[in-house]
């Protein structure tokens, strides 16, 4: 370790530092491009902040007309509200059945074969990229009106989303137990069942609870295309300008989502 060698090592790091500086300019340029792109897109969206300002009172006007809510209308809503919950629940069960096998296949530490993995990823992408509302239109056409196509639509779309999340949870597990089980002579499938799934399970449960909550919200929209649930009542009251009834529907949805949020927080605190 001569001092000359040390000095040349220091020079080397100095050069690397200068190279990093150049990269930083590069990043600023990229940020500039990004801002320009956003501005260009703003034109495409037709962002008009001034009009938004004048429109706010009009939106307030809608909410003003909803008061006081016509509470008697709630009697009509119990059944579709319950139906919304059923749709969300069964939508999640279908999503689990679709998402779990595909998610396992899509996780890079579980599935070594790139062909199989990419096939699973492609299917997940397809399921996810078509929104549940569009799926609902397809399923209504296929199996008729009612909650069943709604549950199918949620299940297929959420299956694509959950599968992706399951795969990521699996990819983030600790590899130590996986190696330990390989060392016992366990087969690949046994390793997945005993070392990988138990580690990812709490996250699976968390994701499913969260997407159940999302499902309740989504299910309120599915009614618009005839796929059951409270959404049908919501759209009908709006079309008939029955604002006080609309108010009841919105409050009921808010109450359901809040209750589910509280319940899932309670459950999540108890799984560890």
């Amino acid at each position: 370790m001569s001092t000359a060698a040390t000095r040349s090592a220091i020079d080397g790091v100095m050069e690397a530092l200068a190279a990093r500086k150049r990269w930083r300019f590069h990043h600023i340029a990229l940020a500039g491009v990004a801002v320009a792109f956003l501005a260009w897109c703003a034109d495409g969206v037709g962002l008009r902040p001034k009009e938004l300002g004048s429109a706010l009172p009009a939106i307030g006007e809608y909410f003003y007309r909803m008061a006081p809510p016509k509470w008697e209308f709630a009697e009509v809503l119990w059944k579709p509200a319950a139906e919304t919950l059923y749709i969300a629940l069964w939508g999640n069960v279908i999503a689990l059945l679709i998402g779990l096998p595909l998610g396992v296949l899509a996780a890079s530490n579980v599935t070594r074969s790139p062909v199989l993995r990419n096939c699973a990823k492609a299917i997940l992408n397809l399921l996810r990229s078509i929104s549940e509302l569009i799926w609902a239109v397809f399923f209504v056409a296929a199996v008729g009106l009612g909650p069943f196509p709604g549950a199918l639509a949620l299940g297929v779309n959420f299956g694509g989303i959950l599968g992706r999340l399951y795969a990521e949870a699996l990819e983030n597990i600790d590899n130590g137990p996986v190696e330990a089980l390989a060392a016992t002579g366990a087969s690949r499938l046994q390793i997945i069942v005993y070392a990988m799934l138990p580690q990812a399970l709490p996250q699976f449960v968390t994701y499913n609870l969260y997407w159940f909550e999302v499902g309740v919200r989504s299910a309120t929209v599915l009614g618009m295309v005839g796929a059951g649930g409270i959404g049908f009542e919501l759209v009908t009251t709006i079309r008939l300008f029955e604002w006080r009834e609309t108010g009841v529907v919105l409050l009921l949805i808010l109450a359901m989502v809040t209750l589910i949020d509280l319940a899932s927080t309670w459950i999540r605190a108890r799984i560890y």
Partner: protein, 263 residues
């Protein structure tokens, strides 16, 4: 484990083993070691000496680049063979225990039986009574049968490592490969864990290959020591022969003679 005196013939024979990882790191360089049945062999060396790679080449978690490993005269390297049947004969104990923390102690020990079980029941967490009995007996050997139904992560570090030893025993192995089993434990617990390892080796006639970096433990527990440095064996003999000079060779060997090109 029928045990006629096989001490004359090595039960594990490592011949000319080398491993070069993709990217060019040469972790092992022409290693040859013979191990007798029932021996407690310590492989001593600093971090990065290649000890872990050596153990993983034996149970084929890592495939060696060159050389062979013979187990009771049968070659277990090279041919794909029945990897599971090979691996279940080698129990492994890890520095970080590597238990599945969210499963019970007993289920963790039962995973040692997976190598013997097919695709059917085991995938739904169901084991034959005989396997459960083996697992509980193994737990009793490390005096943890009372904690069978607790979750693994409720146990202390020393206890977790004893569960890991029980898991290795549940494989009914002929060899236990212990990779720095006490590196993350305090000295008192470390001696206890090494004591259990030595005890099972003696009582069950299991051969133990134990990686260590602490000289004290090596002197205290081993019958024979292999000293490793930079992927090569630099000492082999009884621990009493570990002189200052030899320890210096193991721990402070400069990238000397064979590696002048490193500048």
């Amino acid at each position: 484990m029928n045990a006629p005196d096989t001490r004359l013939q090595p039960m594990l024979s490592i011949r000319g083993l080398s491993k070069t990882y993709p990217g060019g790191v040469r972790a092992l360089n022409n290693i040859s070691i013979d191990v007798a049945a029932g021996e407690f062999l310590v492989i001593l060396g600093p971090s990065g000496a290649g000890k872990s790679t050596l153990l993983r080449c034996i149970n084929r978690l890592v495939d060696p680049s060159e050389g062979q490993v013979l187990h009771n005269g049968r070659e277990i390297t090279g041919h794909r063979g029945d990897l599971r049947a090979i691996r279940r004969q080698f129990g492994m104990v890890f520095q970080q225990f590597n238990l599945v923390k969210r499963l019970s102690v007993l289920t963790n020990v039962l995973t040692g039986r997976l190598g013997y079980r097919g695709m059917g029941r085991s995938l739904v967490y169901s084991f034959p009574e005989a396997d459960k009995r083996i697992a509980i007996e193994c737990l009793a050997r490390v005096n943890l049968e009372q904690k069978a139904f607790q979750r693994a992560d409720t146990l202390s570090g020393g206890e977790q490592q004893r569960v890991a030893i029980a898991r290795a025993l549940a494989q009914q192995p002929t060899v236990i490969l212990a990779d720095e089993p006490v590196a993350s434990l305090d000295p008192k617990i470390a001696r206890q864990v090494l004591g259990y390892l030595r005890e099972v080796a003696r009582e069950l006639g299991i051969t133990v290959l134990c990686n260590l970096h602490q000289v004290d433990y090596a002197k205290e527990f081993s019958e024979r020591v292999v000293g490793m440095s930079r992927g090569a064996v630099v000492f082999e003999g009884p621990s009493a022969q570990l002189t200052e000079d030899i320890l210096h060779r193991i721990y402070y060997r400069e990238p000397g003679e064979e590696a002048k090109d490193e500048a």
